[in-house]
Amino acid sequence: MPWTKVYTDMSDVKDILAGEGLRALSYREALKEAQEQLLRSDDSVFLLGEGVDDPGGIFGSTLGLWNEFGKERVMDIAIAENGMTGVAIGAAMAGMKPVFVHMRMDFLPMCMDQIVNHAAKWNYMTGGKVNVPLVVRSIIGRGWGSAAQHSQALHGLFMHVPGLKIVMPSTPYDAKGLLMEAVNDGNPVMFIEHRWLYDYIGFVPEEAYTVPFGKGIVRRPGSDVTVVALSVMVYEAIKAAKTLEGLGMDIEVIDPRTLKPLDEELIIASVKKTGRLVIADVACKTGGAGAEIACRVAESAHGYLKAPVKRVNFPDTPTPCSPVLEEAYYPNAGTIVQAVKELIG
């Protein structure tokens, strides 16, 4: 199905889609279109963040939206993450649907209190009387020596916080559909994008649509090893699968799409079929999302595993600057191939 397909080679994807008479959009454009349609159809929706109205437009994902919707609804703000998150939460309680945009996920620790102690707990503390329909968009940066404070992926932290939902779209189709779902979910949603996905192209319908939370997807069916891949690692996993195919290993690639809720059934079913599990994440290893996924398997698929679980992650170090160290820091298709070989070989 065109809306589930991932294209790893961007060079000819436009032609392919055109050939199939399908509308091609980049991840960046898909995000922008989602926000544009939401702003147009619902007066309670507004965007806020440092630079949402500037000529860069958050890597293009909010570019020019202020022209149509004004600077009140596409609101540039001061650098005050915790306070402004509180402002967004207050507005959300009063019936607005704010979308708070952070150019780097690294800045979220600044507003951890308002996210963890307020947004996440509000519906429960109020006995369900007041909910917080807040979407927090944040982008995982990478490369060019961005170093320790501008390259972090922190979804692992939010996994541990009841009351939050966590979304990590890997395709343009999901970027639009999940964002439209998030804004109307009625709960605080951590919407996590990857800078490297912005230029990825795929089929994106023009009309508004949503992709449901908690429904993962098999990006590539296979019988030998289950690779649960997050965000940009989905593409590395598909590439790895192609390589491994040549070696006679049949890889199943699963993209959970949302970490919270997590489509446990899909993962468990796949592992019960393949008997092998590799988790490819875009973050540091210890205490990350991969540990939770592996633990769920250890709890619910005991006896099915034919080999140890493997995690493909960044090492447990802050991000280095030097290109040679960056090179050594980031896993890729090759790393996944290596991990799979160790399981089967």
């Binding site: 402004m84 509180g86 402002v87 207050g90 509000w122 503390m125 006995g127 979910d185």
Partner: protein
């Protein structure tokens, strides 16, 4: 507290007997609501940390007298007085403190997290400084929706030290939001005196840095609070932006619980005695009697009526049902469809 009603120039001057008696009633309600808690607390079946407001009642009463039912209010861990002044039901609050299913949060929040949307209270945070930006947020929503509501946030001297205070005042001033910042300066954060935390004891002084009017009033004089709040509310309703009001007051009881922390050496007993002589309730009662707005008997009737209501409320609350165990896993997420 001035001696004659005629000495007042502002809002208090126009205030008719209804308003004045309303202020009196609100203060008495808060006082007796909490004295009731002190009475039952030793039984140890009201299992929630209570932060008593006794001694500070004039602030909640004086400010809320200007608010409409639909205006937003954010309080703190020290929440009782503000909720009552805004119109919340004593029985619903008591039930919440008893952890009952009939409580405002079905027993899930307790004394530190009251909620009452019908009265503009969208929930309460006990994280110090946490509620300040929330109020700026509801005010932003009101400005965007043009619904005419204003937002008020009460917080302590300690909360004014958090970064959220700075970030919220900056934003509220920039957008000229209809929000009022009421700082209840009782000189202590738990047992830390303000001189161990701030370079001066003048929180209103911070306002000018944000181009916000900042005023200091005697928080134990309900009419002074009423006058200052009146101006601020008008400013907010007129779209002329936020105001910071510092109300000087003093907490009679310990930071948490019904005991007197002075006996534990937390604060000088002289201070307590000094402040007790300036009891907001007594001062205002005497003022009303001297200005013959109320008679001794009328006052006693009011008090008796409130006590009957408190007795009824607390026993009704106590007799209501505990939540089902199943409730534990509910309300973690809002369900839209």
């Amino acid at each position: 507290m001035k001696t004659n009603l005629t000495d007042y120039k502002g809002a208090a001057k126009q205030a008719g007997p209804d308003v004045l008696l309303g202020l009196m009633r609100t203060m008495l309600l808060i006082r007796r609501f909490e004295e009731k808690i002190i009475e039952v607390y030793p039984v140890q079946d009201m299992k929630t940390p209570v932060h008593l407001y006794i001694g500070e009642e004039a602030i909640a009463a004086g400010v809320c007298a200007h608010l409409k039912k639909e205006d937003y209010l954010f309080t703190t861990h020290r929440s009782h007085g503000h909720c009552l002044a805004k119109g919340s039901s004593p029985e619903m609050l008591y039930a919440e403190f008893y952890g009952r299913s009939t409580g405002c949060s079905k027993g899930k929040g307790g004394s530190m997290h009251p909620v009452d949307p019908e009265n503009g209270i969208l929930g309460t945070t006990a994280i110090v400084g946490g509620g300040i930006p929330l109020a700026a947020g509801t005010a932003l929503a009101s400005k965007m929706k043009k619904d005419g509501k204003i937002s008020v946030t009460f917080f302590g001297d300690g909360a004014s030290e958090e970064g959220t205070f700075h970030e919220s005042l900056n934003f509220a001033s920039l957008k000229q939001l209809p929000v009022i910042f009421i700082c209840e300066n009782n000189s202590y954060a738990t047992t830390s005196p303000i001189w161990q935390r701030q370079p001066h004891d003048n929180i209103a002084k911070r306002a000018s840095g944000y181009n916000i009017p900042g005023i200091t009033v005697d928080g134990n004089s309900v009419l002074e609070v009423y006058e200052a709040a009146g101006e601020a509310v008008q400013r907010a309703r007129d779209g002329r932006g936020p105001t910071l009001i510092e109300c000087r007051t003093y907490r009679w009881k310990g930071h948490v619980g019904p005991d007197c922390d002075h006996e534990k050496g937390c604060r000088p007993m002289e201070d307590l005695n000094k402040w007790k002589e300036r009891c907001p309730v007594v001062m205002f009662r005497d003022f009303l009697i001297n200005n013959s707005v109320i008679t001794e008997t009328q006052y006693n009737d009011m008090l008796a009526e409130i006590d009957r209501e408190m007795d009824r409320s607390i026993s009704a609350a106590r007799e209501s049902a505990m939540p089902e165990k199943e409730e534990l896993l509910k309300d973690v997420y809002h369900i839209t469809r």
